[in-house]
Symmetry: C2
Subunit: 417 residues, 2 copies
């Protein structure tokens, strides 16, 4: 039997924006590494690659000796190890290569054989660069480099979806149901504009239409504007006027990233007729800008709600499907590394939708990093102001089920590192 020291060690980090499921994936990696008899220590980088470079490293095998703690970690939002937004330089100069050498020196020093990086597009860029560097300059390095997807935006390519999206979508759909009820209590016409995250892809905004497919048509967003289609103020106003004829209280979901045809964001308020009225750019979110626009054109109650950061960290209403899959993909990442895979990102493939079934595999990181998977045309209605049922059928399985959240003193109990 090999002594613990001769086994290779694993290290795992979290990177990019927090989600409700990134800790579930961390838990999956830890579980996978514990189950794998050939892995020695399991290290965690604090604040991702930034923490690795400053050797801020914690011993996760020791920290999670109690498996109840892993269970708590799974349902805890945000990034327990801390996150970072670091972009590695291109390894094309001696100067730039120093940081890579530093990383591989730490790998050697800590006897790292498995490197897991949980994150979105920017984080997969780190995985790609590290993998390329290893291939080119560190052919003898034993380190397997694996990316594990995470993003509420759901815009990672080559995977059916990404962990974190389902929980955010569930929060958004539930909240839209609730604010829609709230918006309809008075006997007067009203428009509620809900601003949802997603700078480049409208997957999150699309979730605001989910109540439609769940038998609550009247409580879904009535109109949706995604960053995938050009935003046109005049058409927007017409859409709303037409909708108000059908229904007195309407909910409009807008992505924070919607843009005019000239490429400027709506929240930049660059259109001529708005510049005179609005003040300073930095005060306004997209929903507030549109609220002002409508105030000039409609004689009814108009309110703007920005869902903001709660949509990405609402652990108390996370999706069981999302959390379960997030754990699974973390475990599978360890299996893939143990099988010798490297320079890949773990992926989901949807085998069938009813009943929903997925398979977990992996794809070459080179194809994935920095590609943005947008909502396809086929998922957007011809009028460009809603999503199709097909789109909602794609999203629905991802929000199913509720984890058993532990409440203590009236509040959800979350993990503390």
């Amino acid at each position: 039997m090999k002594s613990k020291n001769t086994k290779g060690n694993a290290i795992v980090g979290q990177s990019g924006g927090p989600t409700a499921a990134i800790n579930a994936t961390l838990s999956g990696v830890i579980q996978g590494a514990i189950e794998n008899g050939d892995i020695g220590e399991i290290y965690g980088m604090c604040n991702g690659i930034a923490g690795l470079l400053s050797k801020r490293i914690v011993n996760l095998r020791e920290r999670f000796a109690d498996s109840g703690e892993l269970r708590l970690l799974e349902n805890t939002p945000a990034a327990a190890l801390g996150s970072c937004r670091v972009k590695l330089p291109n390894a094309d100069t001696d100067e730039n290569r120093k940081v890579y050498e530093q990383i591989f020196d730490i790998f050697t020093e800590k006897d790292i054989k498995y490197f897991f990086y949980i994150g979105g597009n920017d984080s997969m860029d780190t995985v790609k660069k590290l993998s390329s560097y290893a291939k080119k300059y560190k052919a003898s390095s034993p380190v397997k480099i694996i990316g594990v997807p995470k993003t509420i935006d759901n815009d990672l390519s080559d995977t059916d979806h990404a962990p974190g999206y389902g929980s955010a979508a569930k929060y958004i759909a539930s909240t839209v149901q609730e604010v829609s009820l709230d918006n309809a209590v008075y006997n007067q016409k009203s428009v509620l504009i809900v601003e949802i995250m997603g700078r480049d892809a409208g997957w999150l905004t699309a979730a605001a239409a989910l109540p439609r497919l769940c038998g609550n048509k009247g409580r879904a967003a009535d109109l949706l504007y995604l960053p995938e289609t050009e935003f046109d103020s005049e058409r927007f106003i017409e859409d709303i006027k037409n909708q108000l004829i059908k229904k007195p209280n309407i909910v409009v979901a807008v992505s924070e990233g919607i843009k005019y045809s000239d490429g400027t964001y709506v929240c930049e308020m660059k259109e001529k007729h708005e510049t005179d009225i609005f003040g300073h750019l930095w005060l306004s979110g997209t929903a507030n800008v549109l609220k002002q626009l409508l105030r000039e054109k409609l004689n009814c109650k108009i309110r703007a709600v920005e869902l903001n950061t709660p949509q990405r960290c609402a652990g108390h209403i996370s999706s069981l499907c999302d959390i379960t899959e997030a754990v699974m993909i973390g475990k599978k990442a360890v299996e893939a590394a143990a099988e010798g895979k490297s320079g890949v990102m773990m992926t989901f493939r949807r085998v069938q939708n009813q009943p929903y079934k997925i398979e977990i595999g992996c794809e070459d990181i080179a194809n994935i990093a920095n590609a943005i998977r947008k909502v396809p045309d086929i998922y957007i209605t011809p009028e460009k102001n809603n999503v199709t049922d097909e789109c909602l059928e794609y999203i629905l399985p991802l929000i199913m089920g509720e984890p058993d959240i532990i409440y203590k003193n009236g509040l959800p109990e979350y993990f503390k590192l």
Copy 2:
């Protein structure tokens, strides 16, 4: 046995801003009326007194023949009957008395003997005016007029607390825990400003400190600013600088209603040094104004989150204590009316705090309407930037317990009228 027609009928309405518990009280009134053998029909006014005047009335006994529907109603946020914001005129002129005559004519026509009005301060003004009118001009009217409290603001006088507050407080405390985790993921100093409802009273903002009492000190708001104390920009900036020395990532809870010493709201941005920098009043919430103020003074990440309407309608994370009490007080309102009480608002009295125990009674509406119950000085720290443990001990029982929310297709199932 009396025929159904000879029994007096009851009518119930909802008024003012929606909450997560106002439908639970409606359910309680319906249950109480069903259980009372002497009540004939149970009517609901659509959109409160406004709907009564236009005779938009529904038959609730028929609608809720299935008790499963009552159960669903209890956990459904917003106002199922619809709400209104109507202020009755003073009955001091013939012209003004017309609307009262109209209301009492409808009472006679519909054989109403019990009038229940669920709402906050403005709605209790309606109850007070109707009661006074009845006393003065309708001495022979058999109608018992009962106010039932409801307000997320918790600012109704003569009652320990009001239904709706506990659920909003639970949502706020849970969300603050989650955004606090989210705010702490990067290895850099940051300030998150969370804007909370409450124009005149800081009870909701105080709930942002609850995680402190629940064993999660690090995830409570670190600084709180209530409308009960004058806001001072300079002291605010100093508070934050001092707090950032103790802790790299801080959460600041501010009430939307905080004001400068001259009485102007912070969101009005009237202070001289701000007028030059800020644009138009209507774009900015309090948190955004303070974000800009801090940006000028601090060199760190600053983010503003406005909890907005979700805080008053988040049925999915309502408080079991709140919902249970909301039902109870509705039932007790029927008992009080049946005992001959009129011109009163139902109230809670806290008999003891550990274990928490309340009694339900009623108080003369004349003392209650239009009085605002603020957070007392003793609940605010001497530095005026936090609340005391005593304050949190008062709030804590009100957020305890989680109702068994039914999920269907991944979303909370709510009642449909």
